[in-house]
């Protein structure tokens, strides 16, 4: 397992990973780490927030899907851990964990990352492949741009539920949305136009003042299940 560590003074963590048979590369600057990620493939990215800028995690989520993102803290609080997990981190490690626990958590995060990379989401006849977001309807590819695919994926992941504009923006653009920004509305409109042309049997509804939700047409709601396939994993629910 190849691991990129972006942190200063992470000797204990690196020793634990090396002893566990991982191939560890250490960088102390975010720029160097990001350059390396363009050239080489890593299974796990471990970083200390102090070595990265505030946008590092969102950039990694956007640009390197399928890689497990692990945050290394010297000490943590439940508020900080939940904030990082909500922001998209796969795991949060801290200095109180012993070497075995550190290694086990990193391995678990790597498994989670691989699973995310290989998923396909099926919603009736709609099929979306993660992490590219390439979508098809009844096996016909939908001609969507990268941003449109991202918006559709964000809505399909929570099909039937309202997804706030801020959440869609964060997932697709990788940053926080500025109050007054109409980007999400613009891309939802473009998406609706293309979906209408493709005559799909689902639609994107507006929840005024909040966001959007993807629903199948009423006739299809009862008979269709949402399924997420991941290699041998298959999760199905109505």
């Amino acid at each position: 397992m190849r691991i990129l560590v972006l942190a200063e003074d992470a000797d204990r963590l690196c020793n634990a990973l090396n002893e566990g048979g991982c191939e560890v590369t250490v960088k102390s600057r975010a720029g160097e780490a990001e350059h390396l990620l363009l050239c080489e493939r890593f299974d796990v990215i471990v970083f200390h927030p102090r070595s990265a800028d505030p946008y590092f995690l969102s950039r990694m989520l956007r640009d390197h899907p399928g890689r497990a993102l692990v945050v290394w803290l010297r000490s943590s609080s439940s508020a900080r851990v939940s904030e990082l997990l909500d922001a998209g981190a796969d795991e949060v490690l801290d200095g109180t964990m012993d070497n075995r626990e550190l290694l086990a958590r990193v391995r678990n995060a790597a498994r989670h990352g691989r699973r995310s990379a290989a998923q396909t989401l099926e919603l009736g006849d709609l099929r979306i492949v993660f992490p590219s977001g390439k979508a098809s309807w009844r096996d016909e590819p939908l001609p969507l741009t990268r941003r449109e695919r991202g918006v559709l994926l964000a809505l399909a992941e929570a099909a039937g539920e309202t997804v706030p504009r801020q959440v869609i923006y964060r997932k697709v653009w990788g940053y926080s949305m500025v109050r007054g920004d109409r980007s999400v509305d613009v891309y939802v409109k473009r998406l609706r136009d293309k979906l209408d042309q493709a005559e799909v049997e689902f639609r994107i509804c507006t929840t005024p003042g909040l966001g959007y939700r993807l629903i199948l047409h009423a006739s299809k709601l009862d008979e269709t299940a949402v399924a997420i396939h991941s290699g041998s994993h298959s999760v199905t629910g109505s």
């Binding site: 990788g174 926080s176 949305m177 920004d181 109409r182 613009v186 891309y187």
Partner: protein
């Protein structure tokens, strides 16, 4: 250059009326352009065309000052007012051009509000310029324009504040929109500057 001894005073007023109407048309076009960023239906060249038209009107006014022995208003006032109206259209052109320069994909509500203020301001400016000949109803137009300018200041403060509410906003987006908000505000301010000049003309000649 030859001075004309036959006064052509009406021509000055006609040119100011045309300059005001051109500024209003430019503001309406920029508003439509900001509203249709995503649709890309209005090109920058249409705005630039109006900017050139404004330049031509200004050149005509200055040419007339230089060839007329008698002018209906002080020469300096005519020159300053013509330049001020031209500046409004220049700033409108600048703000609109940033959409292309920064590759803006979608609008901000605050910028659309600023465009609304600009259309209102230039409408009052055009009405004031139309009333310049007999100095009728000019003051009311100037008061209304000043109120809109105050509203524009509040929108700018809110717009800049929104860019800095969250530290995880894209720095690129902050740079782009701060420039655009400020360019639109500069156009609103320049309409107010033109209004001040008209106010001075009214006091002097009323």
């Amino acid at each position: 250059m030859r001075f004309s001894l036959v006064p052509r005073q009406a021509q000055f007023y006609d040119l100011f009326t045309r300059a005001g109407e051109n500024a209003l048309e430019a503001a309406k076009l920029v508003e439509r352009r900001f509203n249709s960023i995503a649709g890309e239906t209005i090109g920058q060249e249409e705005v630039t065309e109006l900017e050139h038209k404004g330049d031509d009107i200004t050149a005509e006014i200055i040419g007339l000052i230089n060839t007329q022995y008698v002018t209906p208003l002080d020469r300096e006032d005519i020159y300053s007012l013509a330049s001020a109206i031209d500046t409004v259209v220049d700033y409108l052109d600048d703000a609109s051009e940033l959409i292309d320069i920064y590759h803006i994909e979608s609008p901000m509500e605050q910028a659309i509000e600023q465009c609304r203020i600009l259309v209102g301001s230039t409408e009052h400016l055009a009405n004031a310029l139309r009333g310049l000949r007999g100095l009728r109803g000019v003051s009311q137009q100037l008061v209304a324009l000043k109120q809109l300018e105050d509203e524009g200041d509040a929108i700018l403060r809110d717009a800049i504040g929104a860019l800095f509410e969250d530290d995880k906003v894209s720095p690129r987006l902050i740079i782009q929109w701060k420039d655009i908000f400020e360019a639109l505000e500069a156009a609103i301010d320049s309409a107010e500057t033109a209004a001040h000049l008209i106010g001075n003309i009214v006091v002097k000649n009323g």
